[in-house]
């Protein structure tokens, strides 16, 4: 039971790292609290659902389509909302409310368009993709079904999303630390005013980061029908709060931090489910408050305080 919880927590936590990755990027770069993050995840999930239902597109290739669609949506959305917001007296606080409004608008439009019933994609679909890749790599036919790890059996979907999260974290890391754009992004993350002073087109860098952030959220959404059971237009809000826990634990602006945060969250949640199941939902909130009080900059970060 212990080993199973640990491994399950690892996989589950990786998924939450993926969810937190986009939020981390947006908050780190713009100091904007994107309360609509979970709703973009929901939109990504629905897009994947419709792609599967209408043209039988397997979720794995759908990931790329979904990412591109939402990254592109992010750019004009940024220019529409953020510059005006940053001119106000208290942009951080107002961003809370602005993006909450956005979250309500998205949820309302989704409810009108899709109705309130639960939707899902059959679990075997992700398995099929893994099987295809595994068969290619090992040279002989692999069965589509649950996956064995160290003798414990897990749904194929969990393994697939774990792998995808790992890849995503790696890609974001490469983006931030190995590309010129990423370098500029990190500059903006550290100190916005100084970045402007050195001639960086802060708005452009932020807009791109925003688009990537939304794209990541929607990619996490593609895995949602498998990891979270089913998708409905109203699922966004809870996901947002949990993703805050993940990024806060790991510290802002660092993709590796989000990875760590996700894993810590996942493992502790699975342990709670095993031993104190009815208290399981208390965990993220207690973790969040505890981390903020003991080490507000997160486990990997530097001090961020105000008098």
């Amino acid at each position: 039971m212990l080993v199973y919880s640990l491994l399950a927590g690892l996989l589950f936590g990786l998924y939450f790292s993926l969810i937190g990755l986009g939020l981390n990027l947006v908050f780190g770069v713009m100091r904007i609290v994107n309360l609509a993050h979970g709703d973009f995840l929901m939109l990504g999930a629905f897009l994947a659902f419709w792609l599967f239902t209408l043209i039988s597109l397997n979720p794995i290739p759908a990931i790329f389509i979904v990412f591109v669609v939402f990254a592109i949506v992010g750019l004009p959305l940024y220019y529409l909302l953020v510059p005006r917001l940053l001119r106000a007296k208290d942009p951080e606080m107002l961003s809370f409310i602005l993006f909450f409004g956005l979250s309500q608008v998205i949820e309302a439009l989704a409810t009108i368009a899709f109705g309130t019933s639960e939707r899902s994609i059959p679990g075997g679909e992700l398995g099929r993709a893994i099987v295809a890749v595994a068969s290619l790599l090992t040279g002989h036919h692999v069965e589509n079904g649950p996956v064995d790890i160290f003798g414990q059996t897990f749904p194929a979907a969990w393994v697939a999303s774990g792998i995808a999260s790992g890849i995503a974290v790696l890609l974001v890391y490469v983006y931030l630390y190995r590309t010129r754009l990423g370098y500029l992004t990190r500059a903006v993350m550290v100190h916005r005013e100084e970045a402007i002073a050195t001639g960086i087109n802060v708005h452009r860098v932020s807009a791109i980061a925003f688009g990537i952030g939304l794209g990541l959220a929607s990619v996490a959404g593609v895995f949602a029908p498998f990891m979270l059971g089913s998708i409905t237009p109203a699922m966004g809000v809870e996901v947002t709060v949990t993703s805050f826990t993940v990024i806060v634990i790991g510290s802002l602006g660092k993709p590796l931090g989000t990875l760590l945060g996700g894993i810590i969250y996942g493992v502790s949640y699975m342990f709670m489910q095993s031993y104190y199941s009815s208290w399981a939902n208390l965990l993220p909130y207690v973790l969040l408050v505890a981390i903020l009080l003991v080490r507000p900059s997160g486990l990997l970060g530097r001090q961020v305080r105000r008098a």
Binding site: I97, L98, G101, F244, L292
Partner: protein
């Protein structure tokens, strides 16, 4: 002093009198009651956000604490309603005290932590293991104290007290100190204001208001699930109403509640499906184009707003 008296007669008395008289001509008392609750909550947010600049995204935690404080006193100690009201208020203030370490955090972190704290309280209260104490997720059903008229009267009194408090803040040195802290806490500290202490007092006052509102809510409705009194909607509405009307003033939140909550109820009854959409869009437009609220418009036109 005279200015305060001026404000009291111009604002406090008419509002309280209006809510005292309306039940005689409009029989949906519950709706009037809800208006009063939201005015109180918006003023509570006003006290902490308008005056000190911290956004309490978990404000409903105090409301729920008040509701449960009241209910537990009635259920386990068979207390009379007024004693239970005091207990509910005390519960909220105690919760506020417990959360004061959060002030070490800056802006957004504070709000997120406050939200998480409120959700944590909700999870604890609604946990089935605590069923014998709080009735867990199965909800509270208060019998024996059901008295809507008395509860309505108590609400009127609390409303008056809340407005009085905000008027006091608006016109006193304490209120000015708070606003100084909001603008620039370091300079305020250098000017001799005890930043930490003043902030905590404002926070506890804000918690007290929400606690009283929660207690009287529990008294009036007498049947509720934990989700009802810990619903994020209370926080959001209170913040939006306060923002819409304008923070840091007495009239702002009242205007915000009367206009926006009024629209909410009118629209809600006629075109419900587009309701969430309209409300969300309204909130976004508000933040983008009128972040300082209606009173900022009035100020632009040269009217000094209390």
């Amino acid at each position: 002093m005279p200015k305060m008296l001026h404000h009291v007669t111009l604002i406090l008395l008419p509002v309280v009198a209006a809510f005292a008289i309306l039940p005689t001509v409009y029989s949906n008392h519950l709706l009037l009651f809800n208006f009063m609750i939201f005015i109180m909550l918006a003023q509570g947010v006003n006290v902490i956000y308008g005056f000190t600049g911290y956004l309490p995204f978990g404000y409903v935690g105090f409301f729920g604490a008040g509701a449960y404080g009241f209910s537990l006193m009635v259920i386990h100690l068979q207390a009379s309603p007024l004693v239970a009201l005091a207990a509910g208020a005390a519960a909220a203030v105690v919760l506020g005290l417990t959360l004061t370490p959060l002030f070490r955090l800056s802006g957004a972190y504070f709000s997120i932590a406050n939200l998480a704290a409120a959700l944590a309280v909700f999870q604890v209260v609604s946990n089935p293991n605590l069923e014998s104490l709080t009735k867990g997720p199965y909800g509270i059903s208060l019998s024996g104290v059901f008295d809507p008229t008395f509860a309505y009267g108590a609400t009127l009194a609390i409303l008056g007290a809340t407005l009085g408090l905000v008027i006091y803040l608006r016109n006193s040195r304490f209120g000015m100190a708070l606003q100084a802290i909001r603008e620039d806490s370091i300079s305020a500290g250098m000017a001799g204001i005890n930043v930490v202490r003043e902030r905590i007092i404002a926070w506890l006052l804000s918690a007290l208001i929400a606690g009283l509102a929660g207690s009287v809510f529990a008294w009036y409705v007498s049947v509720f699930y934990p989700e009802t009194v810990f619903s994020g909607e209370f926080t959001i509405f209170a913040i939006v109403f306060a923002l819409f009307g304008g923070n840091g003033t007495v009239i702002g939140p009242i205007l915000g509640v009367v206009i926006l909550y009024g629209i909410y109820n009118a629209v809600g009854i006629s075109t419900p499906q587009y309701f969430q959409l309209i409300y969300g869009a309204l909130i976004m437009l508000l933040v983008l184009f009128l972040p300082n609220g209606l009173v900022s418009l009035l100020r632009q036109w040269g009217i000094n707003v209390p």
